[in-house]
């Protein structure tokens, strides 16, 4: 069958829109490899100088480590609180469940700037500005909705007859949970944990207010972009893109598909 002209037009239009979507990523890669001493595009030659500058700068490395462990702590904390919450929302039968459901998702609806300013005000009083655990607490609030959404979707599709079989065979409730329920939920748990990690690792606005002098990677990037356009930031960007791609591949391989969770 011949492709109708309207379809061909659609494909061409979409090609252009995809180009628009990918354009920033396509620009960042060559700049990060530029041999020019300042921002120039296309680069006159290739070099690793910006990657070297990133790796040799203790400030950048510090910020990277800080973001990595804050992200990891956020993921653990968000799972520890979010998974029981999702269980309560799907399996519990208690008054106020709908209200709690709304509250758990509210942090994604309330504009981040409002959350940031509000928590900044509180943390200034509690002297939590500049502490890593202060950031972990705030990032956990932001990551909780992702965990709840993914785990609730996983629990909705869960075949409860498997748990009933285990309990019928004499397993205690705790044993059923640890040997049957959680292993079966593993794909959802992996997705939820990795999403929570990325949401913290990429987070700028809250970090801008709460990080103080202890830079996270996004805060350091924000400050650098504001001050000067230095190609080091392109090298950092490329590494961030690669890290996020790795996480997405991990979700695709071991996690529950994002498409399934969207339902």
């Amino acid at each position: 069958m011949r492709t109708p002209p309207s379809r061909r037009l659609l494909v061409i239009a979409c090609g252009l829109i995809y180009f628009f979507l990918m354009l920033p990523l396509l620009v960042v890669f060559p700049i990060s490899l530029s041999s020019a001493p300042y921002m120039q595009f296309p680069p006159p030659g290739l070099s690793w100088q910006w990657y070297e500058r990133y790796l040799d700068d203790p400030q950048w490395i510090d910020a990277t480590w800080r973001s990595l462990y804050i992200g990891a702590a956020t993921a653990i904390f968000a799972l520890a609180l979010g998974v029981p919450l999702a269980f309560a929302l799907v399996r519990g039968r208690f008054f106020g469940r709908v209200l709690i459901d709304r509250l758990a998702l509210a942090p994604v609806i309330v504009p981040t700037i409002i959350l940031s300013v509000a928590v900044y005000g509180l943390f200034a009083k509690l002297k939590l500005i500049g502490t890593w655990y202060g950031l972990v607490i705030a990032h956990t609030v932001l990551a909780l909705p992702f965990v709840v959404l993914v785990i609730v979707a996983g629990l909705r599709d869960f075949d409860r007859s498997l748990e009933q079989a285990a309990e019928g065979l004499g397993a205690s409730r705790w044993r059923t949970l640890s040997r049957v329920t959680l292993p079966l939920l593993r794909p959802s748990l992996v997705s939820a944990g990795l999403l929570a990690f990325i949401s913290s690792f990429d987070e700028v606005v809250v970090a801008l207010f709460l990080a103080g002098a202890n830079m996270t990677l996004p805060k350091k990037m924000f400050d650098n972009i504001l001050m000067e356009i230095d190609p080091t930031i392109a090298a950092v960007s490329v590494m961030q893109i690669l890290l996020v791609s790795v996480v997405l591949v991990l979700i695709g391989r071991f996690g529950r598909g994002l498409k399934d969770s969207a339902r």
Binding site: S6, L10, V11, C14, I17, Y18, L21, M22, L23, P24, L25, V27, V28, M39, F41, A80, L81, P84, L85, F87, A88, G92, R93, F94, F95, G96, I100, L103, A104, A106, I109, V110, P111, T112, I113, I114, L115, V117, A118, V119, Y120, G121, L122, I137, T140, V141, L144, D202, V204, V205, P218, M221, I225, S237, Q240, V244, S245, L248, K259, A262
Partner: protein, 271 residues
Amino acid sequence: MTGRGFLPALPALILLFVFFLFPVVRMLGFSLEGGTLDWYAKALGEQLYLRVFWNTFEIALLVTFFCLLLGYPLGFLMATTTPFWATVGFIFVLLPLWTSVLVRTYAWMVLLGRNGVFNRTLMEAGITTDPIPMLHNFTGVLIGMVHVLLPYMVLPIYGAVRKVDPAIPAAAAGLGASSFAIFRRIYLPLTLNGIFAGSVLVFVLSLGFFITPALLGGGRVMMIAVLIEQQVREALNWPFAAALSAVLLVFTFAVYAMAQRFTRSEAEAAR
């Protein structure tokens, strides 16, 4: 809170109450300092600040419009093509979505700047002699925000188009309907829900947007979120920042509430 299975929710609820609900309510309380509504009168009465609200709405509306214009074809193509190309399409939509907003904003600065890629190309091609200002103005903010928010429009539209039974457009084509008629009479009405969901999401996210206007606007494009940040960090004017936040929050919830009513009545009408 009586009933079964409430206990597991408790730790998360404590976190949400202490570090989300309480700080937000506490801060909003500052706006009523002295027991008057003066700070609200300032936010909604003074020309300068009304302009900021108006600017924010204008940008949010334009961003929604352009996201729809670009997002519908993408979602439509991904939903109606072969599984292989749909997967490729998904990767191209999700990769930018998961790339840090900072990285993308930086790239746009490189592209749109005075000596940026676009201006150099235009000048070398002899189309203009002077660089066209695209950064630190309305255009730059608009381009950056559309780029960041486009995936949020594509995904719901993709979902809506997927739900359309392919037999319906096939039957219409068999009966001689033109492509345009098929789109207007079949796809458009059947995917209104997806269009609506995507538009509400993009509009609400635009209202509270901070990073892109702060960096690409260069201080010349004022949006509510940027104004709130300035009031807190530079002016140290907490009561005013709180009043601005309250207004932004009310707008955000109002849009959501309207959206929910609309989708509910839509669902009732469909029955």
